[in-house]
């Protein structure tokens, strides 16, 4: 769900810069996240994602730039913190406490009465499948602790939720469950979610928009499709014609600039694998089909594989030298 003028931005930052001494961890970052939107903030290790999140959650003071989070300016720290939820990447937990007492404590810190905090904690524990409220956190599995962290981040029903690797340590079913819940939270509660993760499959499924960072800079922002397109990752296509026509088809396609690479599939006579310049020429597929039809060659099949976010991510970050 891209931001629009009709949807108020829950997060808006311009020129956000974070420095540690002379080292620039985040360089003039611009972000907008709307209510109800799941926004993926991606990048290799050391890209500056955590620095951006820490600046937006008032943990560190940015060197430059402005930001409003949940309607509060970064300088109005207390109000801003009241309205956000955060699950840090390497969050620890007090092992001697029960999940209930832990969440109740955080509820009270957010201004709930002890009774209200207890009720809210029980709701969240149930919602995230951690219902055995007398169990000490030391007996929790890693996945359970991660879910407890999510409960804590949501104890104040935040307007903006910052999640740094929320599925870390979860088994595939657990990951699926958390991703589904995040999508539900965004839709049902209108919470804006900023999601940092290395699991790009999750991002592709759950995020409305993504931003890719590398070496402290924002490389691209947009919907998953827009980001894939901007990465210039070539799309591959497969054309199937009558085996008797394959040489003629090859000759015709060889003359087209949009076909960057072409090879026969020896195992399947009649099949031609094509690599199209689909980014620089969005009509590449149409040009191929038009040329084949004009030559009166019968098309038996034509398939195009869309590049994945993972490929786009690698292409973009490798281009900056962030990943060698």
């Amino acid at each position: 769900m891209p931001t629009s003028t009709n949807t108020p931005n829950r997060l808006h930052c311009r020129g956000l810069t974070v420095k540690y001494g002379e080292y620039v961890a985040a360089d003039h970052i611009d972000l907008d996240v709307a209510a109800g939107e799941v926004f993926g903030l991606l990048g290799p290790n050391g890209a500056g994602k955590t620095s951006v999140i820490r600046a937006l959650t008032t943990i560190i003071r940015p060197a430059d730039g402005t930001a409003t989070v949940a309607g509060a300016d970064l300088s109005d720290q207390r109000t801003l913190r009241q309205r956000i939820g955060v699950l840090p990447e390497s969050s620890g937990y007090p092992r001697s406490q029960t999940g209930l007492s832990y969440l109740r404590f955080y509820g009270e810190l957010f201004g709930l009465s002890r009774a209200e905090a207890g009720t809210r904690a029980e709701q969240l524990l149930d919602q995230f499948g951690l219902g055995r409220t007398q169990q000490r956190i030391s007996h929790y599995s890693r996945g359970m602790r991660q879910r407890l962290g999510l409960c804590r981040a949501m104890i104040n029903a935040p307007e903006v939720l910052f999640l740094d690797e929320p599925t870390l340590g979860l088994d595939p079913a657990g990951k699926e469950d958390v991703v589904r819940r995040l999508a539900d939270i965004a839709v049902q509660d209108g919470t804006a979610i900023v999601l940092c993760t290395h699991l790009l499959d999750e991002v592709e499924r759950v995020c409305d928009r993504v931003a890719i960072m590398a070496a402290g800079r924002l490389l691209t922002t947009g919907t998953v499709d827009e980001v894939i397109d901007s990465s210039a990752v070539p799309r591959t296509s497969r054309l199937r014609v009558n085996p008797d026509d394959v040489a003629a088809a090859h000759e015709i396609l060889d003359r087209l600039d949009v076909v960057e690479q072409m090879q026969f599939d020896n195992a399947r006579p009649g099949d031609l694998d094509l690599r199209l310049a689909s980014v620089t020429s969005p009509t590449a597929s149409s040009q191929v089909l038009t040329a084949i039809v004009a030559a009166q060659i019968e098309i038996r099949a034509f398939e195009t594989d869309r590049a994945s976010l993972n490929e786009a991510f690698l292409a973009l970050t490798t281009a900056t030298g962030a990943i060698s």
């Binding site: 620095s51 959650t57 009241q82 390497s90 104040n156």
Partner: protein
């Protein structure tokens, strides 16, 4: 529940933190474990100074003085150990960031933890009282012994607990925090062991009075062993009292400088 409007906490932030910290300290093995160690040491020492006449080279008053001084030193040490872990421990266990992103004021975080660490000293007093009272009943100094333990001990403990917390706020590692706090405490306690001539000289006397730890320990010695009245030595309470107030203010002031540490 809506988070849109900033809510006023139903209770002060420091009291919420204090209750949680007290629960965590005493409803786990940490608080009771440290207290058990303290009790065993004090019990062993009490036995050595009182039960075996062959081993005991001290008279009854000296025995009381040794026990009260040991109770103050070890009791203070237990509170110092807890307070010097308070912030740096959160930082090291990865629980600090979650606290810092709540509306909780950092000052309230420090005050709550200060209260919790001080409870260690209160527990140490409660454990010490029976030993002190039993030993002090013989020479008839039970009242003085209890007052010295509670008043002088509490001032020294308050000063060092705040000191440990201040170090913990700044130290990026728990190990550094704990080592620094204990080293400085031992350094402060050392002058009370100075030979009599040096300690009773003008400079030695001033140094001991200015040093809150040695002043508190010296008071116990003068009142319980030296059989001198409180009126002659009330000045020994000045530096522990001033240190308690100043170091508590410093610890609270430093709360504004609490940082996550692993920024990158």
């Amino acid at each position: 529940m809506s988070s849109t409007a900033a809510r006023t906490p139903s209770r002060a932030g420091w009291s919420i933190v204090a209750r949680q910290e007290l629960t965590e300290l005493w409803d786990s093995t940490r608080g009771p474990g440290v207290l058990l160690g303290f009790s065993v040491l004090l019990a062993a020492l009490s036995y050595l100074v009182s039960a075996d006449a062959g081993i005991n080279l001290l008279d009854a008053r000296e025995s009381v003085g040794v026990i009260v001084q040991t109770a103050i030193a070890l009791g203070t040490l237990t509170a110092l150990v807890i307070s010097s872990d308070a912030i740096s421990g959160e930082r090291e266990r990865g629980t600090l960031e979650s606290l810092l992103v709540t509306p909780l004021h950092r000052r309230d975080l420090v005050i709550g933890k200060l209260i919790s660490a001080t409870s260690m000293w209160v527990a140490a007093i409660l454990v010490s009282l029976p030993f002190v009272v039993v030993l002090a009943r013989g020479p008839g100094v039970a009242f003085d012994a209890v007052i010295v333990l509670v008043v002088a001990g509490s001032l020294v403990a308050a000063a060092l607990t705040a000191f440990g917390l201040a170090i913990s706020s700044l130290a990026m590692s728990n190990r550094v925090s704990l080592a620094s706090a204990i080293s400085i405490m031992l350094l402060l306690a050392a002058p009370s062991r100075l030979p009599g001539v040096t300690a009773n000289g003008v400079l030695g006397s001033i140094f001991i009075k200015l040093n809150p730890v040695s002043a508190g320990l010296r008071l116990a010695n003068e009142v319980l062993v030296g059989q001198q009245g409180w009126a002659d030595h009330w000045s020994l309470l000045v530096s522990p009292a001033v240190a308690a107030v100043v170091l508590t203010a410093v610890a609270i002031r430093l709360s504004g400088r609490i940082e996550l540490g692993d920024a990158r």
